[in-house]
């Protein structure tokens, strides 16, 4: 983008919105919206509090466990569905339903199943993240050129070698795209899970801030979460670009 002949960097639009926020906040129109500078100051204070730090550790741990589970189960499940028709027929419908269902509605049920603790949060992350990973992996496996599989067979590939040396790699761009989307959904899962359980991690913090009308801290926490989700997605996107570099040049 250029403005008056000057090149404007991509993030510049963000600055504009920050200024707008600051002005609206200063005008004191809405009680919900303190000035942006105040939110930033609150963020700086917030990250120094032990309650934020322990909440972050809890949240990150639940998020990581949920993501690892959904990748470890989702990728093989997607490969299975991409390769075996019966598995696809049996599971396809459910995966599609779950990937588009309003999952927040199920989180209270998880609470009954797993109790008011970390398990529920992990289950929520898993439930939010896994379906898109399964679907993308399946699509990737489906798109592998049949001749690549024939090539492996004709040169004597065993079944494990076929999967680890050909199928996994050939589907890698789609698998990574699925994981990236899964991570973003997983952030949603961790937040919704914690909000509903409301006594763990960020959920407890959000609950405290909004109950006591501490809006600056509330927004600071929101911004930290958004930044985290964007950062994670960006990191995976970097990895994807690297893979696309040679795997994307598929005929």
């Amino acid at each position: 983008m250029t403005l008056f002949g000057y090149r404007v960097p991509m993030m510049a639009s963000l600055l504009v919105w920050c200024v707008v926020w600051e002005i609206v906040g200063r005008l004191d129109l809405v009680f919900m919206l303190p000035p942006f500078s105040e939110v930033l100051a609150a963020a700086v204070d917030l990250v120094q509090t032990p309650s934020w730090q322990s909440a972050t550790v809890t949240t990150l741990r639940a998020f990581a466990m949920g993501m690892v589970l959904s990748i470890v189960i989702g990728v093989p499940l997607g490969i299975l569905m991409g390769r075996v028709k019966i598995a696809d027929d049996l599971l396809g419908m459910w995966v599609n339903i779950f990937s588009s269902a309003p999952l927040s509605a199920i989180v209270p049920v998880l609470m009954i199943l797993f109790g008011f603790g970390e398990k529920t949060i992990v289950a929520a992350v898993f439930l939010f993240a896994i379906w898109i990973i399964v679907l993308d992996t399946r699509a990737g496996v489906r798109h592998i050129s049949p001749s690549l599989i024939e090539m492996a067979r004709s040169y004597g590939a065993s079944r494990p070698a076929l999967y680890t040396k050909i199928i996994l790699w050939a589907a890698l761009p789609e698998i990574l795209a699925g994981i990236r989307l899964g991570l973003i959904r997983g952030v949603k899962g961790v937040v919704i899970g914690q909000l509903l359980v409301a006594i763990v991690g960020y959920g407890a913090l959000f609950e405290t801030f909004s109950r006591n009308f501490r809006m600056a801290e509330f927004w600071a926490l929101t911004i930290i979460l958004f930044a985290f989700a964007l950062l994670v997605a960006e990191l995976i996107e970097r990895a994807e670009a690297k893979v696309e570099y040679y795997a994307g040049a598929r005929q």
Partner: protein
């Protein structure tokens, strides 16, 4: 007919003295469509045999049955006298769309057959480098397939097939996705390769000129269902300059003769 040896009709062809691949009574149907019916063929050792025919005559199907990639409905394939029904180390396949791993370098692609056999890394890369040079790709060892032209990619496919040291090389329309200039060069290289390497080539093509240009023996297949309609052995001297073959009288006569035979299948 000149010096061209020609045998007519569906009657079994007398077996050549030393055949490495023996195909007996192969038939294959896809649903209601009969792709191949009662194919009997012998492929002489150390020769280049082409399977030639119009599209839909089942030539690729036959090649993949010989490769063990497709199961036949009936009949047998024997290599060196041993019946086979799955891929084996005595055969190597060259694919129409190259079938290279886009995430692997030229060296790894060429060495892939050896990698699957458990040859250690240093040894297989050494062998691969030799064949990369043999097909004229020296200096491209660390490139990725997308950095190569179509012709170069197929050279990688050919080097991969050579590196496993199979007796029989099965080539499925290897030049059809390669541009015309590269195809010419490639055909010349294949003639040279056939003389240097003591291997048997089975070559599927739909191009009459290509088949006559490179083959010791041409098997003409007729379509729906695919059957052997004719076997031709062009008596062309390929020892000199390969450019000369295109002006050779026998070459031109054989191309014309096959065209007259195939014309009936073309609307």
């Amino acid at each position: 007919m000149g010096a061209t040896a020609l045998r007519n009709g569906p009657s079994p062809v007398p077996a050549p003295i030393d055949s490495i691949v023996e195909v007996r009574g192969i038939s294959k149907a896809y649903g209601n469509v009969e792709a191949l019916r009662g194919i009997d063929l012998d492929f002489p050792r150390g020769k280049l045999t082409s399977l030639l025919g119009p599209s839909g005559c089942g030539k690729t199907t036959l090649l993949k049955i010989i490769a063990g990639l497709i199961r036949a409905d009936g009949g047998t394939v024997a290599i060196n006298g041993k019946r086979v029904s799955a891929p084996g180390p005595e055969r190597a396949f060259v694919f129409q769309d190259f079938a290279l791993m886009p995430w692997a370098t030229v060296t790894r692609n060429v060495a892939f057959g050896l990698e699957l056999r458990g040859t250690n890394k240093a040894e297989r890369e050494e062998i691969a480098r030799g064949y990369i040079a043999e097909v004229g790709l020296a200096g491209f060892e660390d490139k990725y397939p997308h950095e190569l032209s179509g012709g170069m990619r197929q050279r990688v496919g050919l080097a991969r097939a050579l590196s496993v040291d199979a007796d029989v090389l099965l080539l499925d329309e290897p030049f059809s996705a390669v541009d015309e200039q590269n195809r010419r060069k490639f055909q010349e290289d294949l003639i040279r390769l056939r003389t240097n390497q003591n291997k048997t080539f089975i070559f599927v093509t739909h191009s009459i000129e290509e088949a006559v240009y490179i083959s010791d023996r041409i098997v003409l297949l007729s379509p729906r269902p695919g059957r052997v309609s004719q076997i031709i052995e062009p008596a062309i001297d390929r020892s000199g300059d390969p450019e000369r073959i295109h002006r050779d009288r026998h070459y031109l006569d054989t191309v014309e003769e096959i065209w007259q035979g195939l014309k009936q299948y073309v609307e």
